[in-house]
Amino acid sequence: MRALGNALGRHLGLTLAVLLFLLFYGVYNLFHPKGFTTAVLIQNTNESFALVMAAMAQTVPVLAGGLDLSVGAVMTMVNCLASYLLAGSPAAMLGGVLVCLAAGALAGFLNGCVVVYGRLQPIVATLATGAVYLGVALWLRPTPGGAVDQDLAWALTNDLSELADTYGWLDGETAWFQAIAWLPVPLLLMILVVLLVWLPFRETVTGRTVYAVGSSEPAAFMSGLAIDRARLAAFTLAGFLAGIGGLYLAIQTSSGNADVPQAGAYTLNSIAAVVIGGTSLLGGSGGAAGSLVGALVIRAISFNFRIFDVPPLVQPLFEGIVLLAAVSLGAGRVFRVKNRLQLMT
């Protein structure tokens, strides 16, 4: 069926990413003494969560045709903020969570404003705002620290049964619960974010407009779409997702840390993840689900260093080469294209 071939061709990037992930992660689990167990899954998902969020955040502005170099900074800022707000009564903590998410969204919204109303290029605009957000983070946490409710931290970084135990919910025996008790909370959260945030957004008119703007701005305008609103929405959502990442980072490390290099690393890795996940940096095609896989690929690469005996001082080189190879996979296109003009983007 032609449509099927089309669908596959359209998601070629994503397909490749999934295969890569299955390869790296499969090998890792095969050779891991406790491979394919909940313990390993919990650890892996915990480790990947923040990067996954950063990658999904990066995806939205990229789809609209612009990079967001402040993703890591927003994440770090929210992380530092959260390290003050995630303690005390359940109500207080809930409030804290909401404040953190709002802060992330606000930061993203400000990015959007600078881009839309300031008419600055997203790359430079977010390069600058990113520095500002890092400044705020450093102001919030000149040195690492903070207190996060221990139960919360423990419960959210384990599987569902631990979650239930910790808060004494439906004393874990219930049959249906047993079926899903092994699910790691972070994995569940990733899935929820995709199902409750990304997919719905993509199906709204605004989300559709994000794609349209990235694909062809003039066409979007001619069709009477609300371009500015879409851009604002894209950056706001990016901030929101980065915020979730920062929030989880705080829960996971039960502290806030305004680590500038770490922020930079997350931003750059998020871009790599987006590309590996099959989203075009030119905008218009791809999706956050792909970036999720892309992020997992990046993580899965380094997982393997813990299994195989790669000399420690060779690891960085190895990592670099694999990354370079992974992002170069898309290059196959070059040899298929029959009209050289199409290579000129």
């Binding site: 891991h32 003494p33 406790k34 167990t37 313990a39 390993v40 650890q43 892996n44 915990n46 480790e47 969560f49 923040a50 990067l51 450093l138 946490r141 000149p142 040195t143 690492p144 620290g145 903070g146 409710d149 221990q150 139960d151 919360l152 931290a153 423990w154 970084t157 631990e162 135990d165 910790t166 980072l249 996971q252 490390t253 039960s254 502290s255 806030g256 840390n257 305004a258 680590d259 290099p261 770490q262 690393a265 997350y266 993580r299 380094s302 997982f303 260093f305 813990r306 005996d309 000399p311 420690p312 001082l313 060779v314 690891q315 960085p316």
Partner: protein, 368 residues
């Protein structure tokens, strides 16, 4: 905390190390931090052991030297036969990745994990898991703000204090003037502690001095630029306390033609070379050092703990230092070798006898 206890209630009895009375094992090597320091004791485990070293950032000489030392130590007779498997990985400056790696090694059933923390916070989860699985975690160098694990470090506060005392000694009866303080990486606990120690003594014993602070990031280039700027504006300093990137600071003084003054700094070979070279011109230098050998000591501590010995919760490794009077080429610095490596590496009381030269001086063979 309160929450913690409720969780632990929910857990299968976590096998925390017993808190016991001293004295500890091999006190010459594992010196308790203070009188208050408590002692830990784990169930003795039969060896040989599987040990992992989880490093963070790798892109600087100190870390590379540290990794080399650890690997050499693992091969050392008397240690080699106690180690079944020794794995080293670097996670980069990413807390999530480092915590993940540690947890992964716990899952893999390693017996001990020595690590340089990316952040002094956030290890609660892995510590808890380690306790549940009888795994000994030993943070060193960048240690944690907790007393729930055994840690190995030199006293960063003391480094600041020593430096202050040395400078005051050299300044003699001069009780006022300007002192330049070149700080390290902002937000890092080591930077914080060395700074506090320095200020503590200066504040107490010589409040008359104006202290000018600049940020050097422990990076020679950055320190050199920042120092040059400070010199151009302040024209004269009576003494300098610098935290790494020390050679950069001296270079800036040379470039500016500023007379050499008493200077306390890190233990880079380059800095000691310069002291030796300019001590007669007034570079009364003091060089304290964070030794990459800490890795080896931490490994030894981990093994000792696994063997069921009593271990201090916080092991204080004496600060190796030298000053312009005690420098000796080929002994505590090497004029024919690279500036970048860190001179103090061995620590005989722990029979960590791998010298910096053996590590950083040897050429090509084993690129591991």
């Amino acid at each position: 905390v309160l929450g913690l206890s409720t969780v632990l209630a929910a857990l299968p009895a976590a096998a925390k190390p017993k808190v016991v009375q001293g004295p500890g094992y091999l006190p010459a090597c594992f010196k308790p931090w203070s009188e208050q320091t408590k002692f830990f004791q784990w169930e003795a485990k039969p060896g040989p052991y599987r040990i992992a070293l989880v490093n963070g950032f790798v892109g600087n000489t100190w870390r590379i030297q540290m990794i080399q030392t650890a690997k050499a130590f693992a091969e050392q007779p008397g240690i080699k036969d106690k180690i079944k498997e020794f794995k080293v990985i670097s996670t980069g400056t990413d807390a999530a990745a480092q915590l993940g790696a540690i947890e992964d090694f716990i899952n893999q059933g390693f017996d001990a994990i020595v690590t340089i923390a990316v952040s002094p916070e956030g290890f609660d989860r892995v510590i808890r898991l380690a306790d549940r699985n009888d795994v000994v975690i030993v943070p060193f160098d960048n240690v944690l703000d907790t007393d729930a694990v055994m840690q190995v470090n030199e006293d960063q506060l003391e480094m600041g204090r020593m430096s202050a005392r040395f400078l005051l000694k050299e300044l003699g009866d001069k009780k006022s003037g300007k002192i330049l303080e070149v700080r390290g990486l902002p937000g890092n606990s080591v930077d914080r502690d060395r700074h506090l120690g320095f200020r503590e003594v200066m504040g107490k014993e010589a409040p008359g001095f104006e202290i000018v602070e600049i940020v050097g990031n422990w990076d020679d280039g950055t320190a050199q630029k920042a120092t040059a700027d400070a010199l151009a504006v302040h024209n004269h300093f009576d003494a300098v306390f610098t935290q790494g990137g020390s050679t950069g600071t001296v270079r800036a003084f040379l470039d500016a033609g500023h007379p050499m003054v008493p200077m306390a700094g890190e233990a880079e070979n380059g800095f000691r070379k310069l002291i030796a070279q300019y001590k007669d011109k007034g570079l009364k230098g003091f060089s304290y050092g964070q030794s990459p050998g800490l890795a080896a000591i931490s490994m030894k501590a981990a093994i000792a703990a696994l063997e069921g010995n009593k271990m201090p919760q916080l092991v204080s490794v004496p600060i190796p230092y030298a000053d312009y009077t005690t420098l000796e080429d080929g002994k505590n610095y090497w004029s024919n070798l690279s500036d970048n490596f860190f001179t103090p590496n061995e620590f005989p009381p722990c029979d960590v006898n791998i010298t910096a030269v053996e590590i950083m001086g040897k050429t090509s063979e084993n690129v591991k």
